[in-house]
Symmetry: C2
Subunit: 329 residues, 2 copies
């Protein structure tokens, strides 16, 4: 059997079985590992890798954006558990032919992100590579242990929410691959330079009525299935409630794209997926709006049936084509 016949989740499951965590720490399977630190604090640790030709093309993304993005995607994991990013460790494998100016610019992009989120880059490893460029960043964040939000605590009846537009980054990627249109700039920006709101993660994590939370990095369909699996519950999603940007709608119209399929299978959204106690939802939604001047979008409900995900459009069952991105395919 070759790896392409084995899914990424399959390999992660294999690893989780072989490397069980202990009672004290939470390991493989959430956005970060959770390691108890002093008194009521915990360390959150996450690792993300970016590979040339798989996650980015050097001809497309600027070195600055690549450096920034390498940090931002890990910041998103820490934020999704309610933590503050603190220390980064960068592993980089460079082909001999890499240009030094390009590398300088990559470092500038990493610096931009580290400055933005007050992260100290404390180490890593720098090695050669025969052909492809490889980046891996391990980020350590800190959080109040009692406020860390996990993905396995969703409850039947919870309101399912997202904090931002879905599908913009995939729209940007598609725009880069294909035809030129007028509306695509903000989409490409979402793909190259994702915004992550750490304060939003901390604020939501401090709310007792938020039960489960994770970041959307592999697309709603794929990530929601992971949440449902670890929480052992199901969900009904009303697709007409999924927030889609005007830019994605417009570009989809111009190019004949199915914007819902893009929004659901997207990936790289780097906003938050969370479930909220139904009794508390209305008040929490108002407080969120007044705190961040943007809506908290309710897109569905958590149900009892383990791992049953149903999409509806105006209440009717709706079939969607989600070919989510698997790195082994």
């Amino acid at each position: 059997m070759q790896i392409k016949d084995w899914s990424e989740d399959g390999f992660i499951k294999h690893l989780a079985e072989h490397f069980p965590a202990s009672d004290l720490v939470c390991g493989i399977g959430d956005d970060c590992a959770v390691i108890p630190a002093e008194q009521e604090m915990a360390w959150l640790v996450t690792t993300d890798a970016l590979v040339e030709g798989v996650h980015f093309l050097k001809e497309q993304i600027s070195a600055e954006d690549l450096g920034y993005k390498t940090v931002a995607i890990s910041v998103s994991d820490v934020a999704a558990m309610g933590g503050i990013p603190k220390y980064a460790f960068l592993s980089i494998a460079l082909p001999k032919s890499s240009d030094c100016q390009w590398l300088h610019n990559l470092v500038e992009g990493i610096k931009e992100a580290c400055s933005k989120w007050e992260i100290l880059l404390l180490g890593g490893d720098t090695v050669g590579s025969k052909r492809d460029l490889f980046l891996s960043l391990t980020l350590i964040g800190s959080a109040e242990a009692s406020k860390v939000k996990y993905r396995h605590l969703a409850k039947a009846g919870d309101i399912l929410c997202v904090t931002g537009h879905l599908g913009d980054a995939l729209g940007g990627l598609k725009a880069l691959q294909g035809r030129q249109t007028a509306s695509k700039e903000s989409l490409i920006q979402a793909h190259f330079h994702p915004e992550v709101d750490v304060n939003m993660g901390i604020w939501l994590a401090s709310q007792e009525d938020v039960h489960a939370m994770m970041d959307l990095s592999d697309g709603l369909d794929c990530d929601l299935k992971r949440l449902l699996k670890s929480s052992q519950c199901g969900a009904v999603v009303e697709v007409s409630k999924i927030p889609i940007s005007d830019a994605l709608l417009q570009t989809s119209l111009e190019n004949g794209w199915d914007h819902l399929s893009i929004a659901l299978s997207g990936g790289e959204d780097y906003c938050l997926l969370l479930t909220v106690s139904p009794e508390a939802f209305e008040e929490l939604q108002k407080a969120f709006q007044s705190e961040f001047e943007m809506p908290l979008h309710a897109i569905g409900k958590i149900t009892q049936q383990p791992e049953e995900l149903i999409y509806q459009k105006h209440g009717e069952t709706f079939l969607v084509d989600c070919t989510s991105f698997d790195h082994f395919q």
Copy 2:
């Protein structure tokens, strides 16, 4: 300018300048970053990357050995600062054509190392790669903050010591590349399956009279120069005192290799390089011998002249050819 014209140390210096650590934490430039944890404890964090075609050939190393080695080389960094390895995060980029049995075996090797040193693998990232296989491991260890040993605290007059034979792993690599001889098995084993003694690191770190300590991963010549640079002192090394295994001596004789040049430029020795107060040396050497049933080898002295490294043979200046391994070359 291309990367091949820029050394690995050059890039690390560039990173260190761009990412200064704070007063509270120790960042780029030692075996691990040191992050204060609860009360008198500190976290030690290290990252090591292994790239196919640069650090290993899939046709040569078994998947089990590669998995084991990926962990062992980071354990060596934690041990070199006197810490206990605790939590690991593995980033792996796999080409589509990777064989699942091979991957199973890789995981077995990682497990062997994690069991040996009681390490919990808590997370990481698994992604695809277009062509080459990349592995990057971040290891978090813990140590008593006051006992952590750094490489910048060597003092003029200190006795320079190593804890094991030098050059075996490079001898093994050379044996793999060339002619078959009878004596090479233990050398190849040193290359594929390095031994790391965590208790030795902890014991040495607990000795006040040990001033500076680091692991030997890039060869004595290269690593000693790093120690001298960060300690702003020099050294005289008596090459006849450098411990060389019978296997390396024998294989060198059979193949016409210069065993001293191999021992000095080696790399992957994964034993410890340390400096000891001269007054305390004799007693410490005895205690070491009785604790570990092996000698602590004194190979030279620390001198005052910053970064001046002199090799001697029986007291006479001795010229050595050390073409140390730079990953960018």
